[in-house]
């Protein structure tokens, strides 16, 4: 532990100060193994103005990704540009490592940026100092249901909270957990479900100015509803110990009939994938609709030994080739570009089209304005603890939200 935290600065001595002609692109494994192969081909296809190979590709595993990036950046051997966690760019901006993408945005505006991206997506990247990244895909959280299970039990697809509760009770009688989720080791599904309920009731974790604002009537109401689902055993009480694989196993076996999951769920549950469909967003008790999504982005870095102009040029090239991933069916996230959203590639799966049309417009991220704090909130211990407290059901929503508010407010970055 001590050694790990001390590794990054040690390696900084090995950093190179000379500018490289080759743009180093670090990418996460966003799909099956073939995804990384395609990403490498796209990257290798980039050429400089004089025809030389202009970019190198490196796939970075999610495990300890922050350590990997921090070490690379500190050593001057980090990427010039990368994909990564949704709020990673905000964190590294705060640490002075991000090269802002304003020039690229200007370039896009000249081409009519408002028509390039889906509504509201580009704005999520803006901070007081500029754009920390450029969106490239949307990691949605939508309500899936198993058509066969609902048909066999005579259950209607829920449209609001009351009908979700009714459907849950009916499915429970038939021996199913109506609302599949998990909050075990490394599993953020439970957190995303709870935040989705808050957003779906017009609530959220932050006020418009980006200050923690957890203890609101709308949030309390949403968490009361979540605890009702737990109390009625519509949510499996054992879910506190469920890893992501445990939850997928329940979807696969048909034990789970409904639940909030990402847009790639059908591709990860074998033959059951064909039985799954996307519900329309639920209407909250006050008529609100809302859901959580993550805007995954391409971020550029300072001190990478690459000239910023060269990195920006590669980023523009990469955006022009995003369509390839959806054409080849190697990515299950949603596109950010309207051109891909309207393409035949997406139209092949009506469920994805439904997600773009019905879920994307009502989806929000944790806060209207991105900050470094969000990186610590998303996947951090405060939200993890809060999720388990709510799903355990032995602490009231107000108390749990008050603790969460204090924890988020105490995050000093």
């Amino acid at each position: 532990m001590l050694g790990a935290a001390a590794t990054a600065p040690l390696l900084s001595a090995c950093g190179s100060a000379t500018a490289s002609r080759v743009v180093r692109f670090w990418d996460m494994p966003w799909g099956p193994p073939a995804y990384s192969g395609l990403a490498e081909r796209v990257t290798r296809g980039y050429r400089t103005a004089d025809g030389a190979r202009g970019a190198s590709y490196q796939s970075v595993p999610w495990n300890n990704y922050y350590m990997t990036f921090a070490t690379g950046i500190a050593a001057g051997k980090g990427p010039a540009i990368s994909t990564g966690a949704s709020f990673q760019a905000f964190l590294f901006e705060q640490q002075g490592a991000i090269h802002h993408a304003d020039n690229v945005v200007e370039h896009l505006h000249a081409a009519g940026a408002d028509d390039v991206f889906l509504p509201g997506v580009l704005d999520t990247m803006r901070t007081a100092d500029g754009y920390v990244g450029i969106p490239w895909q949307l990691d949605m959280r939508v309500l899936w249901y198993n058509k066969r299970v609902l048909d066999e039990t005579g259950t209607s697809v829920p449209t609001d909270w009351d009908s979700l509760l009714d459907a849950g009770r009916r499915l429970k009688k038939a021996g199913h957990y109506a609302y599949g989720t998990g909050a075990g080791a490394g599993n953020t599904a439970g957190t995303q479900m709870l935040i989705g309920l808050m957003l779906g009731n017009g609530g959220g974790l932050f006020d418009p100015d980006g200050n923690p604002d957890c203890v609101t009537n709308r949030n309390i109401e949403a968490m009361d509803f979540a605890q009702e689902l737990v109390k009625e055993k519509i949510i499996d009480p054992a879910c506190l110990g469920y890893s992501a694989d445990n939850v997928l196993g329940q979807w696969k076996s048909g034990e789970v009939a409904m639940g909030i999951h990402d847009s790639g769920l059908p591709s990860r549950v074998g033959d059951t994938g064909d039985l799954l469909d996307v519900a329309s967003p639920l209407t909250g008790p006050h008529g609100d609709k809302g859901a959580l999504y993550y805007v995954n982005n391409l971020m550029m870095y300072k001190s990478s030994g690459t000239r910023p102009a060269a990195t920006e040029r590669f980023l523009r090239y990469y955006l022009q080739h995003l369509q390839t991933y959806w054409d080849e069916g190697l990515i299950t996230a949603l596109p950010v570009l309207k051109s891909i959203a309207d393409s035949e590639a997406l139209a092949r799966d009506p469920r994805q089209v439904k997600i773009v049309r019905e879920w994307q417009p009502i989806s929000r991220t944790y806060a209207e304005r991105g900050t470094a704090r969000l990186a610590a909130v998303d996947g951090g211990s405060a939200l993890y603890r809060f999720t388990q407290t709510i799903l355990r059901g032995d602490t009231g929503p107000r108390q749990a939200l008050t603790t969460l508010q204090k924890s988020i407010a105490s995050i000093a970055l």
Partner: protein
């Protein structure tokens, strides 16, 4: 007739030789450990990140982190985990070592099989235990339901999660203790037991007054090692429960990891790791003093 003194003073020339022989290892260890320790000490008194050192804050990372309920809970669980890990695995390991001394058919096969938990990669073990206990349809909850215990939430109930994690730790660690105990028992001459039998000592007396004292040194060494293994055991806990439910199985090493790599609070995380190191050094020193006493005895 005079008896030889029980202790002899080492001759200076021999001492020098031993120091010279140990020097390469000591220098290598210092090279490997000194930089991380020094830089971690710097991080512990700054408010920076893994990229930037940040501003000097003195002992603020310690004073703000150590009195918190989450630190206290983690420290308490670490103690429980340590005690269960050390003494649970020692009791089972010693018991099996004693059993395997008996002329049992296939003892060698058993000895190899009993080593499996220890030699198996931790990711495989954690996955296997997850399969055993995590969901309603897992084997152990199914058996518990069949026995009339209802739905037993092995990983979702805080108390049961603590017990489960400790049981897994014991399961992972007893082969090591069994090996240590076996080697210690092998050094006890059978004639000692034979003499005790002739004097009328029963099995318990032989165990109490021969086995335990004569294997004490090895036992203390294995306790020190196992204590270090337990306090520094991140993967067993993190892969099984992630420190949950509701921090019930969050040990100090898990808390430190979360602080640094999930909450991005490098200073407080390193402060926790430093505190752990300090406590471990004290515990090890105390146990080593016991070893020296056992040696003298």
């Amino acid at each position: 007739m005079t008896t030889a003194p029980t202790t002899t003073r080492m001759r200076p020339s021999r001492k020098r030789t031993m120091l010279l022989l140990a020097a390469p290892s000591v220098v290598l260890l210092l090279l490997i450990c000194t930089y991380p320790l020094v830089y971690a000490a710097i991080q512990a008194v700054h408010n920076g990140s893994l990229i930037n050192t940040g501003q000097y804050v003195g002992l603020q990372n310690f004073t703000l982190t150590l009195p918190t309920p989450e630190f206290r809970n983690a420290a308490l669980f670490t103690v429980v985990f340590l005690l269960a890990g050390v003494f649970g695995s020692w009791a089972i390991g010693l018991g099996l070592a004693l059993l395997l001394r008996m002329p049992v058919p296939g003892a060698k096969v058993f000895r190899v099989l009993l080593l499996l938990p220890w030699v198996m990669p931790i990711v495989v073990s954690a996955t296997a235990w997850n399969w055993l206990v995590a969901t309603r349809d897992s084997p152990l909850p199914t058996i518990a339901r069949a026995l009339g215990f209802g739905d037993v939430l092995f990983l979702a109930d805080p108390t049961l999660a603590v017990i489960t994690v400790c049981v897994v730790k014991v399961w992972l660690s007893f082969p090591f203790m069994m090996l240590m105990s076996s080697s210690a028992l092998a050094s006890v001459d059978d004639s000692v037991y034979e003499a005790a039998r002739l004097d009328g000592a029963g099995p318990w007396q032989r165990f109490r007054f021969i086995t335990l004292p004569m294997t004490a040194k090895s036992t203390y060494i294995s306790w020190v090692l196992m204590a270090i293994f337990c306090v520094n055991d991140f993967p067993t806990i993190y892969l099984l429960t992630g420190g949950g439910p509701v921090d019930a199985t969050s040990s100090l090493i898990v808390l430190a990891y979360r602080k640094v790599f999930q909450d991005f609070q490098t200073g407080p995380g390193v402060a926790i790791a430093f505190t752990m190191t300090f406590v471990l050094v004290i515990v090890s020193a105390l146990l080593f003093s016991r070893i020296r006493k056992a040696d003298v005895a």
